[in-house]
């Protein structure tokens, strides 16, 4: 098995980078060792294939002019991006519209809240009576003139009007 250093030397030999003494040794190695010869042949074929695949790129203008053109394009892009980043001053109607959006959202929330509150309000709706414990009451309502009647029915005398007391009802 060929070591890595020998493999590198074969590559260097193929590239013409070895000293004459080393090149002679590698030549001898390739001549006598089948594995070294096979590697040399493979590397040589690969190099040939890569050389054929490369395409030369030729610029239509000089190198300096080409790069200066790229620099100018980059500078133009920087300037335009800076212009775009500066916000334009909003018009009056845009300002009003921007202000009214949260106001309208708040109004909708308030409306919904009031509707819900009116529908489910704890004390809204029917009349409520809390009478004293020793008093029966009858409640009825006349919707025609929005009148609610509360009748205290238990006692014939309920301290609001008393027999023989001229200052009360009798």
């Amino acid at each position: 098995m060929m070591d890595q250093e020998t493999q590198i030397k074969i590559q260097a030999f193929l590239d013409g980078e070895l000293a004459e003494n080393e090149a002679r040794k590698i030549t001898a190695l390739i001549a006598r060792d089948r594995e070294a010869a096979a590697l040399h042949a493979e590397l040589k074929n690969t190099r040939r294939a890569l050389a054929g695949a490369e395409q030369g790129i030729t610029l239509p203008e000089s190198r300096d002019f080409y790069w200066s053109k790229i620099r100018r394009q980059i500078e133009q892009l920087d300037q335009s991006s800076q212009l775009q980043s500066v916000p334009a001053a909003p018009s009056f109607w845009e300002s009003v519209n921007r202000l009214l959006k949260p106001v309208s959202a708040l109004a909708i929330v308030v409306l919904l809240g009031m509707m819900v509150f009116n529908l489910t309000g704890s004390d809204s709706g029917s009349d409520l009576l809390v009478a004293s414990s020793d008093m029966d009451t009858i409640t009825f309502r006349d919707d025609s003139d929005d009148t609610t009647f509360v009748w205290f029915a238990d006692k014939p005398e309920n301290d609001v009007a008393n027999v023989g007391d001229d200052t009360t009802l009798n």
Binding site: A131, M135, D146, T148, F152, N162, L169
Partner: protein, 151 residues
């Protein structure tokens, strides 16, 4: 979005805001609410033994027409203005009512007889609303207190 659409949306938003504000303002009761409290005696006698008692108005008589008495006399009438604090109104020597404003246009009326709470009533009221409370009295007579919101 065109400028016209923006203006339209803005106007709609303003309209909604105004509606919300008006509803909110409607939920908050004005400072003073005025009531009229009338103490009435119901009897089948044509005349009251107290000459200061005068027959009730036709409107009041109509309101009480379903009760069993044929004659109703006005014993006392008080005009009351109630604001934040509850208002005590003495209708007779032993009869007092306490009127208190609650939230959502509700009114609490407490009836006190000889210093003792007879009952507490709560009612949603607006201008013209009435709360009529009453009970039996001696000699097959009856008493009533009509509380009407006048403003």
């Amino acid at each position: 979005m065109t400028a016209r659409t923006s203006i339209l949306k803005g106007a709609l938003s303003l309209w909604l805001a105004l509606i919300a504000l008006s509803l909110f303002a409607g939920a908050v009761r004005a400072d003073d609410v005025k009531f009229e409290a009338v103490l009435i005696w119901g009897t089948n006698d044509e005349k009251s033994p107290d000459p200061s008692h005068k027959p009730v108005s036709e409107a009041v008589a109509k309101k009480l027409k379903d009760f069993k008495w044929s004659h109703y006399f006005e014993v006392a009438r008080k005009n009351v203005s109630v604001s934040k604090d509850e208002k005590r109104v003495q209708m007779s020597k032993d009869c007092t009512i306490v009127i208190k404003l609650l939230e959502n246009n509700r009114v609490e009326v407490t009836l006190i007889g000889k210093g003792k709470t007879v009952g507490t009533m709560k009612k949603e009221m607006k201008k013209g609303s009435c709360l009529v409370t009453g009970g039996n009295s001696s000699n097959s007579t009856g008493w009533f207190i009509i509380i009407k919101q006048t403003d």
